[in-house]
Symmetry: C2
Subunit: 189 residues, 2 copies
């Protein structure tokens, strides 16, 4: 099954280029994104929520104008393989998830997704074949209404120079930046 | 100044395509990413940390193999415009930030970055000219050593079907998935 304007083979190449390899989750995610997108009225200005950091965000970034950096895609990490696209003004949209019942017809996808088989025993050619064959046939699509209060981006507010490191930071974060408060992920120099 | 293999004009087009517009932060971020990358020994397998969700993650995604979805880029949102690229095995790398002293020579960049002028009074042509002229000349680059424990991805563990919504979720999250625990950003159906 095609993925939006791409054949499966074309999208696999695009995925490999951006994501470094055509990960199964990214290919499945691509069908999910297209399935949700197809249900939005033509011309809708939409944003996205992904419920996992794994693979799925890259499907959104490859197939929609939404990216992490432009902040039209929010990551709400619930550890779930689901994505919602919604009208940025009304909040109405569609959420695509994987339907465990429908997955029963695709044992290799089920084994991969539910981690039933150890990786070494998975057949990756068969997995890709099943993904292409299944397309969005393994998705559940449901209308949703996002709660904007849970997604709105924190405003930066006033910018100040941190008296400790000298770098710019949101003044509202405290007397010094959160990096200097101990949140930076680096060892002390 | 060129941005890695791209002229400024070429990168602006690439930025517009992926990010929907050539945001100043993305263009500046691109110079920051290239400045950090240039200091890593040739052939280093590296990963990335960005300290903000704004724009900068897209510079990393456009100029390196690291993406949100492949999880080679971590977002540690400290509200700071800084990015670190580091050897994925040793954790040693370089962090690029904006140097407020150096910014004094580029008043339009400073006005934009420090929010000194309201948006309506900013001169976006001049801003882009200053960004191209400054290149990585407004960056501070420092060696860093990441603390892996602060970046490691949570393991999914065993996957179960949520007895409430029927979807797959990390069993360790509780009796029902975190969406059903009230963390989903949607209004009740």
């Amino acid at each position: 099954m095609n993925i939006g304007p791409y054949t499966f083979a074309q999208f696999k190449e695009k995925a490999a280029e951006f994501h470094s390899y055509p990960a199964p989750g990214l290919l499945i995610g691509a069908y999910m994104v297209e399935a949700a997108k197809a249900r939005l009225p033509e011309g809708t200005l939409f944003e996205a929520v992904v419920e996992t950091k794994k693979c799925l965000p890259d499907a959104v970034q490859l197939l929609t104008p939404c990216s992490v950096g432009n902040q039209w895609m929010s990551i709400v990490d619930l550890g779930k393989y689901a994505v919602a696209l919604y009208d940025k003004y009304s909040g109405a949209g569609f959420r695509a998830s994987l339907d465990l019942e429908k997955l029963r017809s695709y044992p290799e996808i089920a084994a991969w997704f539910l981690k039933i088989k150890p990786k070494a025993e998975q057949d990756s050619d068969l997995l890709l074949q099943e993904i292409e064959r299944a397309g969005d046939g393994i998705c559940a699509i449901a209308p949703i209404q996002v709660e904007f209060e849970r997604l709105r981006h924190a405003r930066m507010g006033r910018i100040a120079a941190c008296p400790s490191c000298g770098e710019a930071y949101p003044a509202g974060d405290g007397a010094v930046c959160r990096g200097c408060q101990g949140e930076a992920p680096y060892l002390p120099a």
